[in-house]
Structures are given as structure tokens and as C-alpha cells.
Symmetry: C2
Subunit: 214 residues, 2 copies
């Protein structure tokens, strides 16, 4: 039988999945703003981030209230603390989407990403968005196999990050310093979004199994 | 009279101050490795990071044990949760020092930072190191005025970050794309170290006053 503690915990995990869904939208929109030089969409990502911050506060309040009222110990305690960490990761992923949107906004009406680097960045963005979507699903379903698989996607991300450096350091790079710096930072932001997604998924594994994947 | 809870909590804050001291050393060494192209010092920063990670785990275990055994509520609970967040920030600052060390290692025997950009990066590094040192002191003394002053240093950091962009995007930048990208990333790493220092200091203010500075 499920008790009050586990019901409240389920509520927190529902909220985490919802926030992860909001982050997925933020990543998708920031990418579209970037690749289509759409400054109003970039503005929207930047202003909508307040909703993610607000949702984070709500989860933190719920988790603290759960700790206060139920005083969980051992495994239950670690699960609540994991939820607090997950919501920090998710908020940070939202911030990183804002960073992408700001680079886009800075360059409109031009494009931040030159055509030559477009496939790499588009693929990084696609992986990041997909990883965030899968992470939301992993929070919902507690599917630890899916969490393990997420690491494979992260490997491709690391490879693409190296590719961005190879692109912009190649002798035939003709797009100047500004585009190179944008590209390096964009690569960093998408890579960090993916890192945080893996971190959230690992915490789900911990919540289910009591062990952190190595 | 101080009870067992507060004694254990003091122990956790002592550990946090010690970790912050380790981070200060990491930032200082990473900077020296960078500016003096000292690859063995860079290696040391990279390998010593495991100690910070280990110390983080120890603080987490102590905080969880405190939550389990004492089941604090209200303000006391929030203080313990703040300690958990502070140790996350500190570990991340260690990781960022490693990122600086890795850029240094990648370019040795050459210098990652061209002479023209040296003053800006040296100043950013100096501010970061100083901010981390002051943060360790703030954790030790719970000096909330010093925590407020830390923000002023962060403003200069933001200004210098903009300066790095102005430098590398200037028409007379003659150091190529690679150095520009290194500079943009180094600027980002030092800025993030400073951000985390402000975050840690703000949590100290919260611990003392019960309110987060705006």
C-alpha cells in the first residue's frame, strides 16, 4: 500500500517531468530561433524561462515540505534529495537554452551559424532536444534501461562537439572570428544541456535502484 | 546552548570552507598553468580534482546523515539543504578550473592566451581567485556584509567578459580563430567560477538571515 509520503513524492516527480517538458520546448524554440534567425522566438524563450524558474521553486518547496512533515530516512531521504538535484539540473538546462536564444538574438537579422557549420549545430540541437524529451519520459516511467541508453546519445554529442572545433579550426574556415566564437559557445551550451540530461536520468536510476550508474 | 544538530552543522560548514580553499588553490594553479604554459601544473590541477569530488561526497554523506538522524524542520532543514547546494557549486568550480587547465595543456608548449589578451584574462583570473578566497572566508565567518560586497567584484567580472569579446572581435585581432575561441571559453569559465562563488555566498546570507539576497 502506498502511503502519504509516496503519494507526495509521485506528485514531485510529476512536476519534474512537466518541467523537463518545458525545457524540451525551450531547447526546440531556441534552436529554431537560432537556425531561422527568428528574434521574436528568441525573446519568447528568454521571457518564458521565468516559468521554469517558478516551477523549480514550487518543486523545492514541495520537497522541503516533504522532508519537514515526513522526516524520511535512508533510501526515502536520498530520493527526495535526488529530486532537489534534478530540479537544479532542469533549471540550468533552461538557462542554457536562454544562452542559445541570446546568441541568436545578438546576430539577427543575420544568422549566427554559417551554412558550413549548420549541419553540425543542427544535429547537436536535435540530439539535445531528443535527449531532453527522453529524459522527461524516463522521469515519468522510471525506465532505467532507457536511462542507460541515454549515455549512447551523449557519446555522439561529445563527438559533434569535437567536430565543431575541427570545423572552426580548419584552414578553410572563412567565416571569421565572431562566427567561430559563437559556434564554440553554442557547442558548449548544447553539450552542457546533454550533460545535465544524463545527470537527471542517472538520478532516476539512483531513485529506482539505490545505485548511481558509473 | 548549542545542541548536537548545530555542532554537526558547524562541522559541515568547516568542511565547506576547506573545500572552498581547495578550489581557490585549483583556480590559482590552473591560471598559473595557463599563463606560464606549465603543463605539469595543469596535470596536477586535473588529477587533484578527484580530492574535491571526494570531499564533496563526504559533505553530502554528513548532510544526509544529519537529515536522517536529526530530522530538522523549517529553518534548520533549509540550512542543511543549502549546504548540499553549496557543495554542488564548489564541485562545479573545481570542474571549471579543470577546464582552464585542459585548455592550457592543449596548447603547451605554446601559450593559449596571446600577449594582447593577457591583461584581461590575468585580471579575470585574479578576480575569480580572490572571489573564491573571500567566499571561503565568508563560509567561515558567516559575514553577510562581505557576501554582499562580493557582488561588486562580480560586476567587474561581467565587464571583463565583455572586454574579451571586444578584444577578439576587434578588427586588429591578429591571433587567429583558435586563440579567439580559447579566449571566449576561458572568459566563460572564469565568469562561471565567479557566478558560483556569488551563489555560495548568497546561500551563506540565506543561512544567516533566512532570506536570499535579491
Amino acid at each position: 500500500m502506498r502511503n502519504a509520503f509516496h503519494e507526495q513524492l509521485d506528485g514531485i516527480f510529476d512536476d519534474l517531468a512537466t518541467i523537463c517538458g518545458q525545457v524540451e520546448v525551450a531547447v526546440a524554440r531556441a534552436t529554431r530561433a537560432l537556425l531561422e534567425a527568428d528574434s521574436s522566438l528568441a525573446e519568447q524563450v528568454i521571457s518564458d524561462d521565468a516559468e521554469i524558474d517558478h516551477a523549480r521553486e514550487k518543486v523545492e518547496d514541495s520537497a522541503l515540505s516533504l522532508l519537514s512533515l515526513q522526516a524520511p530516512v535512508a533510501g526515502d531521504l536520498r530520493v527526495v534529495v535526488s529530486a532537489l538535484r534534478m530540479v537544479s539540473d532542469l533549471e540550468r538546462m533552461g538557462d542554457l537554452s536562454v544562452h542559445v536564444a541570446k546568441i541568436s538574438r545578438l546576430r539577427t537579422p543575420g544568422y549566427a551559424v554559417p551554412d558550413a557549420a549548420r549541419p553540425t549545430i543542427a544535429r547537436m540541437a536535435e540530439i539535445a532536444e531528443e535527449m531532453v524529451g527522453r529524459t522527461a519520459e524516463i522521469i515519468r516511467t522510471r525506465d532505467i534501461e532507457a536511462a542507460d541508453q541515454l549515455r549512447a546519445a551523449d557519446d555522439e554529442m561529445d563527438q559533434l562537439r569535437r567536430q565543431t572545433f575541427a570545423d572552426l579550426l580548419a584552414k578553410d574556415w572563412q567565416h571569421g572570428v565572431e562566427a567561430a566564437v559563437d559556434l564554440a559557445l553554442l557547442g558548449r551550451y548544447y553539450e552542457r544541456i546533454a550533460d545535465h540530461a544524463v545527470s537527471v536520468a542517472s538520478r532516476v536510476v539512483f531513485v529506482v535502484t539505490g545505485e548511481t550508474p558509473s
